[in-house]
Symmetry: D2
């Protein structure tokens, strides 16, 4: 397919590489142009402007850092929404707010464009291996049409429902659950360490019995090793997702004390200088509070 | 082997049945004698007293509700520790405090008896199917000798280390992690419900991606169904384990804010009349606080 | 003095009445005009527009519900900042964000206008009696000039420092402390009630010993009576202030777990239908969680 | 009156001095005898044993560190309850559990002895100045008889009710409220410090307006100065009181999230080496978590 791709961070770059390898015709844009140029050798064209990346494509994929970046790219004067043709599809794969997703759905509909929310689970390694989990929501026909794209990027695509923002809510809530796993492991490991039991023994028991899931294995290893750099997913991005979740919870009037605890952990982590670490470094706040 | 078995609650009864079926020679004791008599048809003998169940056996297994029950059975005048012979083995499979486990290790050692801590993960169904996960810690030779017993009761036996109380600490900490899973799911599901997204769709995404572990499947189903009776593991027992964990954390000077949050949830659940429900009914406290 | 006054809610109306009684020459504006007209009998003039209320006055006082209202009144086209003359003074007495106060300071300075932040402590009764506590911050000369105005509205005016937003931060933090008093009393009273001790006896002990402050007396009475309507200060406004505090704390990277707890209480209160009650009705969330 | 006095810590020593000065005839006992001997110059007799201090006195006052100390002194073989005569009065002024107070009430009643619970608010300086606040509960006639004693030790004596443990509950709950004041001030001061506002200015505003109570003045000064030694009330004792409160709350099924937060603060403070500091040093945990 004829695809525009905006946003070549570590996950976005891997995704666009996999799309190119699968034979799709890509035109890529990145604010820092050098990252886009790396894609040229694989056959992608480089757009000079957002508008160029959106112009005439069947599908525009955005994979950007936050709400502000998406708003800039889509809504600002001379930006994507004006260049996309009728019946084209915008797949927003960034982790953005439920509120912005709602606004995108509305704005694209007004222009007879299709909007799909398709945020992903997976760290850069998973993206590189085409092993992302993709949560797609929106009108079913365009989603059907884009299945081959999803298949090039992920190991599995979930069909949430026809209401695009539902995928964003599930994504944010999944990230919230990941932070609770990090914190619970950090508290447990701190106890093991101070009681003289090897945290890795505890982790082995967990991951070979009731807790045999990737999220425990991946983060358990990092927290047991107490090593959080280089970052696969930077702490300030994790904090941003926590804020978006809290905003959705406030809007729906749902008190979430665990989300509040995670909020406090993120703030403390930044106060303690962990802004460049992986988001799992919130475990260090827990360790330090225990005198470790 | 020649085995005394004390404590025929729903899990203990299943374990003793599996031992009998595997050909071991059991003498069983239960405070409410009728539950012991049910074992007679399977070939077990019924002891009239704790002392009789412990006298002359190679291995004594205890599977009781709490510290007090274990203390009564083992330490009170005329009780098991006096009837066990030298070199016999006491396998304590109950979920008890680290502190009591330490005291048992010491007391049995003074009498030249062997002490193994072997708490289990698994609800009654798992016990019936011989699918428990067993965490064994203590001196390696007796553990080796008891492997065939563990094999009859569980699908996997972990060797923690030679310090028996380490198994109890890991067990308590595993239960703590389970409570955090329950609470995080409850908060997430409350948000889904109020935002109009089917919690089961969210659960499907979780358990087929990063959170593909039994603990999410088992409790996710219960919390999505908002149905917590009949109880597989009663709420007050879960609260007891939370207290034992907090005691261990206090002793080691490890602040565990998530454990404190769970403490508050258990207290609220009891205040709201959920004392007969499964421990996952703490989710209802979360639901109610959100006005659901 | 020649004073424009915008915002005649229950506190603002009382303040403007006291200014008029003290002989100041007021021109008042309120979105709902009828509330402004009530002031006419006291000698105040009624402005048809914000601009009219700001035009030519020596001092403009704003006492509005939230950031949005202040922004609209001051910054929107045809609004106050354009009508105020050079060297006039804007006294912002609303409880607004530190961030907006910073922006006001900057914008007024660019127009050679003076900006004073002077938020207040005190419920409507205190405002009526001229017993507010006023926290003033900003350039000292204009503050000196406005002392007579403050004296007509409050029992005491604090001079914070020359940086206007400092007064807003202190105000928000004072409101935060008030919420912690409400919650701590609610938890204590819940315990007294369930243990069969009269909460009023506990309150008497507190307020006649170490806790002999108005904040304990005022809220203690309300929480003991479990009566939160009519509202002196509506719960959603208290929640707004909690949010503004959390924003300031995030900006400064200060984890405030008590502020997070209060956040959760406000969300729960709204979920449980307490949006029209006094902000101290967060105590009912605590009562309900205890099964009361 | 003829008074036995057991427990000469910093507060107990000051209390017994004031009783002696007021003309009462004291016989004092302290585990570390040297502290008792200091009382001889003031005219008190020194008892060699607990039993001697209790024998034949009209009133026995105990002022000890914790439940265990009180239990030892009163209940162990050869201890006070056996030496006290019928109709004598035991005034328990220590901060003990509601549960132990209940047990004391019952045991003294069985021996036809009177039991009054009369815990106090006040730090050592207040005790020295005879300015304690005394919370008395129990049978009214003996309390009436002991009024002159209370008057020598405190500035005010509250009559709670006829159920002695009620005084202990109120005392524990008062200490809980004090910890919430410490934490709320610490969070607020951390924010002020990082935002460049002098915490003492904030404290001045508080204590001269809505928060004009001794508890804010005393602890506000200490937390602003960030100086927590020498300890007026040691942190581990404050933690003990937190535990006793949580036990009472558990028994009554009252979830108290603020008490849980304070629990975590105490554990963190001990983990961070603050065991010899004043209990208000929990503020340092808050400061450190903010990177201060």
């Amino acid at each position: 397919m004829n695809v525009g791709f905006i946003g070549l961070g570590s996950v976005g770059a891997a995704m666009s590489r996999n799309l190119t390898k699968a034979g799709h015709d890509l035109i890529v844009y990145n604010r820092t142009r050098s990252r886009a140029e790396e894609m040229q050798s694989l056959g992608a064209r480089v757009a000079d402007t957002v508008s160029e990346a959106a112009f005439g494509v069947e599908v525009l994929i955005t994979m950007l850092a936050d709400d502000r970046a998406v708003q800039e790219v889509i809504f600002e004067p001379g930006r994507a929404i004006e260049s996309l043709s009728e019946r084209s599809v915008h797949i927003s794969m960034s982790t953005i707010s439920v509120d912005l997703s709602r606004r995108l759905a509305k704005s694209h509909a007004e222009k007879d464009q299709n909007y799909i929310a398709a945020p992903v689970f997976g760290r850069p390694e998973a993206a590189a291996a085409g092993k992302l989990f993709i949560l797609s929501a929106g009108p079913s026909e365009p989603i059907e049409k884009c299945r081959c794209l999803f298949a090039s990027m992920g190991q599995k695509t979930f069909m949430i429902n026809e209401d695009a923002p539902a995928a964003n809510l599930i994504k944010l809530c999944g990230n919230f659950l990941t932070t609770t796993v990090i914190e619970s492991l950090a508290e447990g490991f701190a106890l093991m360490r101070k009681a003289g039991v090897d945290p890795r023994k505890f982790l082995e028991v967990l991951t070979e019995s009731m807790f045999s899931a990737p999220v425990y294995k991946t983060y358990g290893e990092m927290i047991a090793a107490n090593k959080f750099e280089p970052a696969g997913f930077k702490l300030p991005l994790g904090f941003k997702d926590n804020r978006l979740l809290q905003a959705a919870a406030e809007e729906a009037s749902v008190p979430m004390p665990m989300a509040s605890l995670m909020h406090d952990r993120f703030v403390a982590a930044l106060a303690q200088g962990l802004g460049n670490a992986d988001w799992s470094a919130i475990a260090q706040v827990t360790y330090k509070s225990a005198g470790l």
